[in-house]
């Protein structure tokens, strides 16, 4: 359990995040945590709750609010992913998501710079491990694979080594001096993101890293319903049989994204961001209760 000082720091942290988005004209929204149908993502296992699932992300309903005309929205909510536990993982965690209508992923990168600088200036005794005020490092996924693995990201993907190389050979070097923005992911790894241009093999997706810790995942939204439908079908196909829940398509969602001209959205792990602010290296020092603190 966190001590009194850390609890106050955590409360101040959440207040500062809300203040930031309020100041920048974002509307705070909330969406259903229990969802009858969740987005098919091959590597995320949702946790059942009665006849529904607990959300692994509010993404689907945030985009439906964009389709309904919301221009700038944000949400702080709990998300749940089965089987994820470790120094930087919990099955239950706090997510921040924000979305901008008529924007692409570059606007989100700028938001990240402003948000982290704001948090740093607002939180007393914020011990962020890197400098936020120099120009942030920007690296494409392809550049990162060439630099740290001497292999193209396409080859790594074909050989089934993309994730292992990313985790073992690249991530430890990201966000060391300044935060790093790793961007332009292979299309296969960005099922809800827009291709960079129509013929491109990369999608406008980026990840934010600080001190080797992955903090956020943002992208220019795919707003082509038919393309989204076939990407979902592809995700279902890659899912292992044991965890495939259904092959149902989220029809209302698919219908709604077709109404959006252009938009961009991002998800940021707030427990991890707070961990870095507090100068901790594990979520143990950042999350109010640890799994072993709970009654069994």
């Amino acid at each position: 359990m966190l001590d009194q000082k850390r609890l106050h720091q955590r409360a101040a942290f959440f207040q500062a995040i809300r203040r930031f988005f309020h100041t920048h004209g974002f509307l705070e929204v909330d969406t259903p945590i229990r969802q009858p149908l969740v987005i098919p993502e091959q590597n995320i296992i949702p946790i059942p709750s009665g006849t529904c699932f607990l959300q692994s992300s509010p993404e689907m309903y945030m985009k439906r609010l964009l389709a309904a005309g919301c221009e700038k929205i944000y949400q702080i909510c709990r998300c749940f992913r089965y089987g994820e536990h470790g120094r930087l993982h919990r099955e239950e965690f706090v997510m921040l998501e924000w979305y901008r209508l008529d924007a692409d992923y570059t606007s989100l990168m700028e938001d990240c710079v402003k948000l982290l600088q704001f948090i740093h200036s607002e939180i007393v005794a914020c011990s962020f491990p890197v400098s936020l005020h120099e120009g942030w490092e920007k690296l494409t996924v392809e550049e990162a694979f060439q630099r740290y693995c001497s292999i193209s990201s396409g080859t790594a993907l074909e050989q089934g080594r993309f994730d292992v190389l990313l985790v073992e050979n690249i991530e430890p070097y990201l966000g060391r001096q300044t935060p790093t923005i790793l961007y332009d992911y292979p299309l296969e790894l960005a099922s809800l993101a827009r291709p960079k241009n129509d013929s491109s093999k990369v999608a406008e997706r980026f990840e934010l890293y600080v001190a080797g810790v992955e903090l956020a995942n943002g992208f220019s939204e795919l707003t082509d319903s038919e393309q989204q439908r076939s990407r979902f079908a592809e995700e279902y196909r890659k899912m292992d049989k044991f965890h495939r829940r259904s092959e149902k398509m989220p029809e209302l969602f698919l219908q709604d994204i077709g109404k959006i001209n252009q938009a961009a959205g991002i998800a940021m792990g707030l427990d991890r961001l707070f961990m870095l602010c507090a100068g901790e290296v594990s979520l143990d020092g950042a999350v109010t209760f640890q799994p072993e603190d709970l009654d069994m």
């Binding site: 590597n43 089987g83 994730d163 990313l166 985790v167 991530e171 990840e207 995942n217 292992d240």
Partner: protein, 187 residues
């Protein structure tokens, strides 16, 4: 069978017919990517270490490990003999297998012996043992070493540093995890 999601520090798994204990564990999952279970492991028989990253579809066997309560009987050269306190069956481990544990074995001491596939591979000692001091030089006041400890030898032949007031014939308590002096035992 164990699944990759069962992996954690301290878990024992079997690889290529050998028992391993996981000494370091890290769960990783790059955004939108697959879960990776990064392990450092030690072979429980040879002590060899290695690192391996597993994915969520991998399965592991539990090693056939069993702990039995046994009593230390005697050593004959490099062989240390133990007896099962229930079945009275006897077995032995080599000095090499026992490593530093030989420093703390006393006749008739009860301890846990770990078996893999019916063969003894390791022992777990009580955390504290009390041993007789057999050699202790008197402490010379004004000793130039400037330290406030002195070396002694206990009945097993093990040497350690103790406070100056410990004399030959005293019994002292030792922490078997660190090999360090804890306190003098009053009879």
């Amino acid at each position: 069978m164990l699944a990759a999601s069962d992996l954690r520090k301290g878990l024992k798994i079997q690889i290529d017919g050998q028992p391993y204990i996981i000494t370091h564990f890290e769960f990783s999952k790059p955004g939108k990517g697959q879960a990776l279970y990064r392990c450092k492991m030690r072979n429980m028989i040879t002590g060899n270490q290695f690192s391996q990253t597993y994915r969520s579809n991998e399965k592991f066997e539990k090693p056939a490990l069993e702990e039995r309560k046994m009593q230390f009987l005697y050593n004959q050269g490099e062989e240390y003999h133990f007896m099962d306190t229930e079945s009275f069956e006897q077995t032995f481990l080599s000095k090499e297998q026992l490593g530093d544990n030989v420093n703390f074995l006393q006749d008739n001491m009860e301890l846990d012996v770990l078996f893999f596939d019916e063969k003894p591979i390791d022992v777990t000692l009580p955390i504290f043992v009390s041993l007789l001091v057999t050699v202790a030089d008197p402490w010379a006041k004004g000793d130039t070493s400037g330290s406030d400890t002195k070396p002694v030898t206990v009945e097993t032949g093990y040497g350690l540093q103790v406070p100056p007031f410990v004399v030959e014939g005293d019994r002292i308590q030792i922490d078997t995890r660190t090999g360090a002096y804890v306190t003098r035992v009053k009879d």
